[in-house]
């Protein structure tokens, strides 16, 4: 008997990636999409969706198989985020932030740290969030003021982190804090995994947001929070470098989310344009509406293919990963905003009310232009890469 090798399908995806993508899509259609409007309306974190994603190993995707994960590469993680976001942006953030928050650990953690911390994350039992942003350190991430001071076998952390996605529902917080205020600007930060709850740690407030309303955006306070030195990721001073390497792999996740939102909006708009009749014909048959749908579809596919290429190039170890990550996030975020805005337009008055999902998608799309670096920061990163190093 001869074993058959697996032929590539769906152009650039492996048979496995296609199956994984389709499985997540079916799961999202059947179990997540019906919850999306309610999650948005209530603004409550959907723990049932966390459980669902955990049960089906979706939250294990970013983690290595040896520690209980699925061992998905960057493109595979993005395929899953895209399919979940097509149904519900908030739900896709559960996976995207599990990926983001754990990246410093996965990139710089010791074998002991991985063995100790990853299994709970891979199973989805614990969530992890990413604590870099502060009231005074937004786009200028290196302006962090939170301090970590060595004290025996521990560090003592003091400071405030703002806009921390899933900050109030995570069991671990990846915190960036200043360990050496005298060091040069990009060597002053270190990175820690803080297991919470722990004395001195407090969720100070939750934001009221325009979109991603089921995903709690928290302000986290650290008052003399003791963290064992064994939870420091990498060496002292490695923090900023870890953060930058994290963005190389997390920005594609946000691009995937943006592509998914846009795809969901296109599908809703297309279905409506096929059924809604005015002046005796389907509105999609009016050229002005048909052209909008055509532009939406073409723009989404362009963003998607850029994203998939970026994933492959980054996974292959390009020295230009920052630029690729920034480019796919920039294009996908702007595409999501444009496409969802047009989707609302196609639905007319019905697009503006919450009986249809496109107004929610439009509100959700906006955040993809803001977080993990605003679109302006992405352009800055791209321009610097072009001017500084020339083209790759």
């Amino acid at each position: 008997m001869v074993a058959v090798s697996t032929p590539p399908t769906d152009h650039r995806l492996t048979e496995e990636q296609v199956l994984l993508r389709d499985t997540v899509r079916e799961l999202a259609d059947a179990r997540i999409a019906p919850r999306a409007a309610e999650i948005d309306r209530s603004g409550e974190f959907p723990d049932d969706i966390r459980q669902l994603l955990a049960e089906h190993d979706v939250l294990g995707l970013p983690f290595p198989a040896e520690h209980g994960g699925v061992g998905g590469d960057l493109l595979t993680i993005c395929l899953a985020i895209e399919q979940i976001a097509r149904a519900c942006t908030t739900s896709s953030l559960i996976l995207a932030v599990q990926d983001l928050g754990s990246l410093p650990l996965r990139l710089g953690g010791s074998p002991e740290q991985l063995a100790r911390l990853v299994p709970r994350l891979a199973s989805g039992e614990a969530l992890i969030c990413f604590g870099l942003t502060e009231p005074e350190a937004g786009s200028d991430g290196a302006a962090v003021r939170t301090r970590a001071v060595r004290d025996g076998d521990d560090y003592v952390i003091n400071g405030t982190k703002r806009f921390i996605t899933n900050g109030s529902v995570a069991g671990m917080v990846t915190v960036f804090a200043v360990t050496d205020p005298e060091a040069p600007r990009h060597r002053h930060l270190s990175c820690f995994v803080v297991e919470v709850p722990t004395p001195g740690f407090r969720v100070a407030r939750l934001e009221h947001k325009m979109g991603i309303r089921g995903s709690p955006t928290a302000e986290l306070e650290f008052q003399d929070v003791r963290v064992p030195a064994t939870n420091r990721i990498g060496d002292e001073g490695d923090g900023w470098s870890l953060a930058l390497r994290t963005f190389e792999r997390s920005r594609p996740g946000i691009a995937a989310q943006a592509v998914g939102i846009a795809q969901g909006a296109l599908e809703a708009a297309t279905a409506y344009a096929r059924e809604r009749k005015q002046f005796g014909q389907r509105i999609g048959d009016f050229q002005m509406v048909g052209a909008m749908l055509a532009d939406m579809a073409a723009q989404i596919e362009a963003a998607r293919q850029l994203l998939y290429t970026a994933c492959e190039v980054i996974e292959a170890g390009t020295p230009d990963a920052q630029r690729w990550a920034a480019m796919c996030k920039l294009v996908a975020g702007d595409t999501a905003m444009r496409v969802t805005t047009d989707a609302v337009q196609v639905l007319g008055g019905y697009g503006y009310i919450d009986e249809f999902p496109v107004e929610r998608m439009m509100r959700d799309a906006k955040i993809t232009q803001l977080y993990e670096g605003t679109q302006q920061i992405q352009r800055l990163v791209i321009a610097r890469a072009l001017l500084g190093r020339g083209r790759d």
């Binding site: 697996t6 048979e15 997540v24 049960e55 190993d57 699925v70």
Partner: protein, 261 residues
């Protein structure tokens, strides 16, 4: 407990892209394929029994070479291995060829039970399971709503759906069971299952491997499709909107006006 599940790739009903070729055969390139829905119920039943009793589940498929795509999903759901009978000579096979080929492939396997789905969504003949049982002289247990093997006693009990209720059947193993949807919803593959499916074996067999050269396939088909017609259009759809009460009244009035009620 070794179970063989017969699975067939069929055009994805969700894609609604089915098309016949000029020879009135299904154009399998025109539509994405999925595992036949009823076969997934049979597979789910087999996987549950494997989880309860241990053992293995083998999926057996007769299809074009790209059937490995759909077989991979069955492996991701938890099947142990796959056997794909594929051969250009099998294009255009009739039901007789199909069951002869599958029976020959089964003769090479060891098993306690063979499961088939109730029918396939593209062929609809609904007799392949019965024909295989006849060829292999296996006990034939159809319309199964519940399957309870007793490996120690070497028997299987099946609750068979009848027009009036259930029959409780018992047969020695090996036996062939035709599964129904009452057995329970098929699972989604877990992502770990998908990753694990990569390393599972799909063995391929040709007509010659099975010693059936010249005996099966399109060239010796016993039936031929002469014509194919689409059902007549049912006319315009009317959607009733409004409150449940008003809607119900409107529907009853409509049915009365057509003397249906």
């Amino acid at each position: 407990m070794h179970i063989v599940v017969l699975t067939k790739p069929v055009p994805d009903p969700a894609a609604a892209a089915e098309r016949l070729g000029p020879d009135l055969r299904l154009d399998r390139a025109a539509s994405p394929a999925v595992v036949n829905g009823n076969d997934e119920y049979a597979l789910e039943a087999a996987l549950k029994l494997m989880e309860a009793h241990g053992g293995e589940v083998t999926i057996l498929t007769m299809a074009p070479p790209n059937a490995t795509d759909t077989m991979r999903k069955a492996l991701a759901m938890g099947a142990t291995r796959g056997v794909l009978v594929t051969d250009p000579a099998l294009a255009g096979s009739c039901v007789r060829s199909t069951d002869e080929v599958l029976a020959a492939a089964l003769r090479e396997l060891t098993y306690d039970l063979v499961f088939s789905g109730f029918d396939t969504s593209d062929g609809n003949a609904g007799v392949v399971g019965a024909a295989i049982a006849a060829r292999l002289r296996l006990p034939y247990l159809s319309n199964a709503a519940k399957i309870e093997p007793d490996p120690e006693a070497g028997v299987v009990r099946v609750r068979r759906i009848t027009a009036t209720g259930y029959d409780l059947l018992e047969a020695p193993m090996p036996a062939l069971v035709v599964c129904t949807q009452v057995l329970g919803e098929p699972r989604y593959p877990s992502l770990k299952g998908i990753m694990a499916a990569r390393s599972k074996e799909i063995a391929t067999r040709s007509v010659a491997d099975l010693g059936l050269e010249g005996a099966v396939g399109g060239a010796v088909a016993t039936t031929a499709v002469l014509d194919s017609q689409k059902p007549a259009s049912r006319g315009a759809t009317r959607v009733v909107r409004g409150t449940a009460e008003d809607g119900a009244r409107e529907i009853v009035e409509l049915l009365e006006s057509r003397r249906i009620v």
